[in-house]
Amino acid sequence: MTGTLEHIIEVRDMVKKFGSFVANDRLTFHVEKGEIFGFLGANGAGKTTAMRILCGLSYPSSGEIMVAGHNVYHEREKIKRKIGYMSQKFSLYDDLTVSENIRLYAGIYGLGRKEINTREAQLLERLGLTHIKNRLIREIPLGWKQKLAFSVAIFHKPAIVFLDEPTGGVDPITRRQFWEMIHDATLEGITVFVTTHYMDEAEYCDRVSIMVEGRIEALDTPAGLKQSYESRNMNEVFLKLART
């Protein structure tokens, strides 16, 4: 199986077992290049397990999985170079400054010093954080941290960025500004794979999958899902599917 250009992630019959427990039960789906793909499900439905496999952090028990043109069994290091990742608990170091965090990540991804200098300045300018670049991360407000964590996750221009509940806990305006940043990232050709518990955010995705007890129960555009499940909004769709 080869991942086509259009399908940046191709998953066929992915199974992950922990002992006798089946966390992912024959998942089959693809993610198109440049889309925002919402990966929804109740707590314990198996989202994190699947996401870890796609990021090259754990092996599947079986199945054929290609991420950014690479095989998750043999080419995990290549996958890691082509993706970005941001979790709900932020991947920034509290005791480093804003600037040091940016430079640390850029360095890990092998960017040259000149390029780092230019792009760091651009990034700080765009986020309006230039005046606090020498402040420790622990001293800056949550909303800024979140925007910075996202920017750092895509600093090396990855093909795909994985966002694991990126907007937990922030105020409703910061949450929307964050989604505008996500949209802007797709304009640069970055594919977005995102999980969230905010159902209004599911509406901002191009397509949404909903996992229930290890399986993908539904996958479509938000409009398509609302029609199929005769619901006014994604919250109703989710309640109909995930309530067991």
Binding site: P141, E165, G169, P172, H197, A223
Partner: protein, 313 residues
């Protein structure tokens, strides 16, 4: 009054966590404290639970001062902190028995109060708390907070990070607890949960923005909020809408844009421009603001005031 917060101030070193927080909760009320992380919700809850002393101001529970009469306060409240206060190396049953004994009661004595909640986790009563799922931990923690039949229940973000289904179930439980006559104060970052409370306080950066019942909050303010929908999706229109003269704010809102106009007179002008875009699927209508809309409006008014002050300096 069940609970009185009288002009509470609290600072940690240079950070002013709470500024003149002032509200009351009535007997039997289900009261919501709504605000993002860092707004000061947990600090306020720890003051109510007699775990922190305010720098100034007073807090009382059923007439008992939480500072001077903390022993009495602790008898009458049930407190569920943000990070569950369960013993991970005790079983489900042992956790519940432990909390009952601490309060000098038994599981049997108040079992009817927790029956509906506890029965859902009872099949796993021999399992260690550390090995429960998030939803089950939440139910056990609530059972433990209720086992001594408190008069006031204080729940600090019980639904954060919990999926939409479990959140719905949790609120069903809170409604039942309310029918038992227990006053409940609950904090949440989810605006949709505000609609389920009798009254809410909106909090941001340590200050209350508003205290009201949810429907009154929605009706407050001028009727300047509009919804824009399109069969082609609304994101592409966001920038264009923001550039319109009559547009004060515009934000994504599920599959709509919510647009606040500068004045009611701007409606006609905006409509004209929308017509010129020649998208037959465009739908523009005046709407009643939700709690989330109101919260966003209050945040923006505050940030506008801040920037005006900066310009004036």
């Amino acid at each position: 009054m069940s609970l009185i917060l009288d002009h509470i101030d609290k600072s940690f070193e240079s950070v002013q966590a709470l500024k003149q927080v002032n509200f009351e909760v009535k007997e039997g009320e289900l009261f919501g404290l709504i605000g993002p992380d860092g707004a000061g919700k947990s600090t306020l809850f720890r003051i109510m639970a007699s775990l922190l002393i305010p720098d100034s101001g007073r807090c009382s529970m059923l007439g008992y001062d939480v500072d001077k009469e903390y022993r009495q306060v602790r008898q009458i409240i049930g407190y569920m902190p943000g990070r569950f206060s369960l013993y991970m190396d005790l079983s489900v049953e042992e956790n519940l028995a432990f909390y009952a004994r601490v309060f000098g009661t038994t599981i049997q004595e108040n079992y009817d109060l927790i029956k509906d909640i506890y029965e859902q986790i009872a099949p796993f009563k021999k399992r260690l708390a550390g090995r429960l799922s998030g939803g089950m931990k939440q139910k056990l923690a609530l059972s433990c907070a209720l086992i001594h039949r408190p008069r006031i229940l204080i729940l600090d973000e019980p639904t954060t990070g919990v999926d939409a289904v479990s959140r719905r179930e949790f609120w069903d439980m809170l409604k039942k607890i309310q029918r038992e006559g227990i006053t409940t104060v609950v904090s949440t970052p989810y605006m949709d949960e505000a609609e389920l409370c009798d009254r809410v306080a909106l909090i941001q950066k340590g200050s209350l923005l508003a205290v009201a019942d949810p429907s009154a909050l929605a009706e407050g303010g001028e009727k300047l909020l509009y919804s824009l929908r399109s069969g082609k999706g609304v994101y592409a229109y966001l920038d264009q809408i923001r550039q319109l003269e009559g547009c004060r704010y515009a934000w994504l809102f599920g599959d709509e844009l919510h647009v606040t106009l500068r004045s009611a007179a701007d409606d006609a002008g905006v409509k004209k421009v929308l017509d010129s875009w020649q998208d037959d699927s465009l739908k523009w209508e005046s709407i009643v603001p939700s709690i989330e809309d109101r919260f966003m409006g209050l945040l923006q008014e505050e940030s506008d005031a801040d920037s005006e002050m900066e310009e004036g300096e």
